[in-house]
Symmetry: C3
């Protein structure tokens, strides 16, 4: 496993710091920043809450979480011509390439990384409104999800936390 | 109205908490996270400042705010093939579908939601640089906008606030 | 130079406030919010740390930083039909237009703006994992980069900071 992704099991130093990450995107490339920053925070003794909402619901939906995709469409940093990126096969290719890069650096896959965060003490929350919009209930979600909560409950628990919206 | 979108009129408990949300995207799907989190925060007695900047200017531009669109292009969480999502009609269809889902859950439309936030005590700020880039003045903007301010003024007022960049 | 982009050289008032901005996008339009907010914060006597990661690595990669592009693909706030925006030439045209708008408002180009931030006291950090994924070392990066650090180091230094994820 990479130096970057050190599991933080057994870290029992409590800094009083809290980090709450709102995960609103469901693409593979925007799942990882939450995982990596969350894991780093746990390793520093920081309490971490992850709130999955809007498109980010795909990351904790049992049916989709193992098949997150990455598309270069609209992303100029991939240096792919805009006319090529929507072509059939490009999303699969780009997803495969990104996964390969991550695997080479020993970065765990989505389900494994969520398990790692959970085992390290992260709380995983699903957004009520997103669940309702997608007609999903708790049984449809990754088993590590603590609960489906509304935005008010999330806001309440983030008193004193540093926030990230991804 | 949905349980999730409870108007927070008359909440006079002051927690001392402040939440400042920078709204930089102008698509329909990225307008709602700011509204929903902002409204939840107001309901918890938290002072809320919304700062509309860059593409987010469309949300407070009188001419565009009632016609925000949602495009599945580049968004793999919509599960639409990348080759189909740019086709004519797809943006209209996707926008209509998203609006329908939101309406079914009693989530207000953009203008109404902004009015709700305003009535609940939120401050609504427009970015000076974005106004200049778009050649817009205050009269071009939603009447609930408190003022056009520059980034320095926004940074100054967010002392002690939790921040979100959407 | 625009009123909005006042260099903050020589501001030696220390407010104790800290702002840490995670720059994860590599497109031209998403580089500027970090620059403008960071510069405004420096002007208010706030310590600023910029952490370039994922696609945001393009902003500090010597080979790409002077050629950041903007694509209207997937961005409904550009009001360009989704079928047109991937066509050849559109990215170049949109990039040129955005640069022109910024230049007219005396907003510096990417390299100059980074230099301005650096001279005003900002710290510029590159993400270790992103460097590894891109097979880049410090010599490949903008000379103003202070160091390549991992997410844990970044999280550690942001104790007490306000956070933005762009």
């Amino acid at each position: 496993m990479s130096d970057m992704i050190v599991p933080s099991f057994g870290n029992d130093e409590d800094t009083g710091r809290k980090l709450a990450i709102i995960c609103s995107k469901g693409s593979l490339d925007m799942a990882y920043p939450a995982f990596i920053l969350g894991n780093a925070a746990l390793g520093e003794g920081i309490a971490v809450d992850l709130f999955f909402t809007f498109w980010g619901f795909d990351i904790i939906n049992k049916k989709t979480m193992d098949h997150l995709k990455f598309s270069p469409v609209g992303n100029t940093a991939t240096h792919m011509p805009a006319a090529l990126s929507p072509l059939p096969g490009v999303t699969s290719f780009a997803t495969h390439s990104l996964k390969k890069s991550l695997t080479e650096l020993d970065v765990p896959e989505v389900r494994d990384f969520l398990g790692l965060l959970k085992d390290s003490g992260a709380n995983i929350w699903a957004c009520q409104l997103s669940a309702d919009m997608n007609h999903l209930v708790k049984e449809d979600l990754y088993e590590g999800v603590d609960a489906i909560i509304n935005a008010s409950a999330f806001i309440e628990m983030t008193d004193g936390a540093q926030l990230l919206f991804i």
